[in-house]
């Protein structure tokens, strides 16, 4: 005997503990099984691209911090690179190394947050989250040492970085590099072999490599699906061609692989920082750039490997001191393209985990 049933609609978000900001999913449920999902964006839309057209090139750097507020340094980078390419500005070697060090530190901090909140979505009641925030705090202290701020660093400038590192930074960084692998092992021993974690993540939210490529996924989403694609190697910008590191990839493209890729990327970032500190030359951290910068007419597109994927900046200059058009290719938004395909047919509880494993940041999705 079959009882008559009808699907019911559940609004997950915009205020919900697991939507990582103000994202909203309009989910049609059949019991616990998801039949349809409609993502709703725009609760954090600030018109950032329009604002960029209003301010001068230099005034826009702090705006880019607000894109993906948990990895601010990486957001400065493509914009600064774009302006440098347009204006023909030379960046001193030391500045490039400083950018790499800070960018990789920021990547570790961002991945710690990503994995921590994924574990939270899974229900480890903040334990993993607090552990990871303990180490993220150390990174933030380091970044505060060099930039004076703790979340939105406003660190990069055209032709370099805002200030050179203080003398106590390198010893502090060395201490951090020494203890961090131990902490990563601690997370691994707490999480990776856990049977419940395996049963919650393995085989859940599987995205084949074809699907990942077709949906323009990038970053850990793409690599978790087994595509070996990392702009730091495949389109090496800055001084990334001077470092040795591996690109971790997953096999199945499930939530577990995306989690593993993030954990492994943190180790590789530590390797890069090690090498960068060793190779860093002396010299100036910034070359003088005219205050009222007027890059030549033209357009340019630059991209970097941000923690969440390929972060690009498309910049059009009309020869005045304000950009004519500024567009950011936001990896968090584009990674969400595939959300609907991943969620349909899954259970409500899995939906939260799949969404958490995509790791978005609303500041970037809505801009």
């Amino acid at each position: 005997m079959a009882l008559p049933t009808e699907p019911f609609i559940l609004n997950i978000g915009p205020l919900h503990p697991s939507t990582h900001g103000v994202f909203r999913m309009r989910v049609t449920l059949d019991g616990e099984i998801i039949q349809d999902v409609e993502p709703v964006f725009g609760y954090l839309h600030r018109g950032l691209e329009k604002l960029c057209e209003k301010y001068t090139y230099k005034q826009n750097i702090p705006l880019t911090d607000r894109l993906d507020y948990v990895s601010a340094i990486n957001n400065n980078w493509p914009y600064v690179m774009a302006v440098e390419q347009l204006g023909g500005i030379v960046v001193p070697q030391r500045a490039e190394y400083l950018r790499v060090i800070m960018g990789e530190l920021q990547r570790i901090a961002s991945h710690l947050l990503a994995v921590g909140s994924l574990m939270n979505d899974m229900g480890i009641f903040y334990t993993a989250f607090m552990y990871m925030f303990r180490e993220r705090e150390k990174i933030i202290d380091l970044l505060e040492m060099v930039s004076g701020q703790r979340l939105l660093y406003n660190y990069m400038r055209f032709g370099g970085v805002s200030m050179d590192i203080p003398t106590e930074f390198l010893p502090a960084l060395a201490r951090f590099l020494k203890v961090m692998p131990g902490f990563l092992d601690e997370y691994d021993s707490m999480l990776t072999g856990n049977e419940i974690l395996l049963s919650r993540t393995k085989g859940i939210g599987v995205m084949s490599s074809e699907m990942a490529i077709n949906a323009s996924a990038s970053g850990p989403m793409l690599r978790g699906s087994g595509v070996k694609w990392d702009l730091r190697k495949d389109a090496a910008y800055s001084v990334y061609d001077k470092f040795e590191f591996d690109i971790p990839i997953g096999q199945n493209g499930d939530c577990y692989d995306r989690y593993r890729v993030r954990m492994e990327e943190m180790r590789q970032s530590l390797r890069i920082i090690h090498q960068a500190v060793e190779q860093m030359p002396a010299g100036k951290e910034k070359l003088p750039v005219p205050l009222r910068l007027r890059p030549a007419k033209g357009e340019v597109y630059t991209q970097i490997e941000a923690p969440r994927g390929t972060l690009g900046c498309y910049l059009v200059s009309d020869g005045t001191e304000k950009p004519y058009r500024c567009h950011f290719r936001a990896p968090a938004l584009i990674n969400l393209t595939v959300l609907r395909n991943l969620l349909i047919g899954q259970k409500l509880a899995d939906a939260i985990i799949i969404f958490g494993s995509i790791d978005i940041s609303m500041g970037e999705v809505d801009r």
Partner: protein, 150 residues
């Protein structure tokens, strides 16, 4: 390292297939709006450009420019295409059926520039609310003035 495709060569090959209208410059290839769908299919299937990196638009006084960046992950080749459409009733074919990755980005352009993507499966406003008037990223957009400024 990523290499860029030879636009002159590509223009010749596309012209052999679909006729005139493709103009190559040093850093991009201009595609006429009516040939976008066919050219995209050719580029995807024949030239193996499997990764849709980015699409965005720019508003110029006399035209809209759409900038497509396609990438071939297997060969690590990059290509930039431009589509120029008029400011009156701007419309281009949607590529969301070829590359799923285009769908949200096209919706965003539709929302902020008002460029129609014909054939898009779910073309509606994305970051702004549905009855918002105007398209904010157009240069002639005059938003409502909130607050007490004069």
């Amino acid at each position: 390292m990523t290499t860029t495709i030879d636009y002159k060569d590509l223009a010749v090959r596309l012209q052999e297939q679909f006729g005139e209208g493709f103009t190559a410059s040093t850093d991009c290839l201009e595609v006429p709006p009516n040939l976008v769908a066919k050219a995209a299919e050719y580029i995807k299937n024949m030239l193996d450009f499997n990764y849709f990196d980015m699409v965005t638009a720019a508003d110029y006084p006399d035209r809209f420019e759409l900038i497509y960046r396609l990438q071939s992950l297997s060969h690590n080749v990059l290509a930039t295409f431009k589509v120029i459409c008029s400011r009156e009733n701007p419309s281009v074919p949607s590529l969301a059926n070829l590359w799923l990755g285009a769908s949200l980005q096209e919706r965003e352009i539709y929302d902020l520039f008002g460029i129609e993507f014909s054939g898009h499966p779910n073309l509606k406003r994305i970051v702004l609310w549905d009855d918002f008037e105007g398209y904010p990223l157009r240069k002639d957009f005059k938003g409502k003035v909130y607050g007490t400024a004069n």
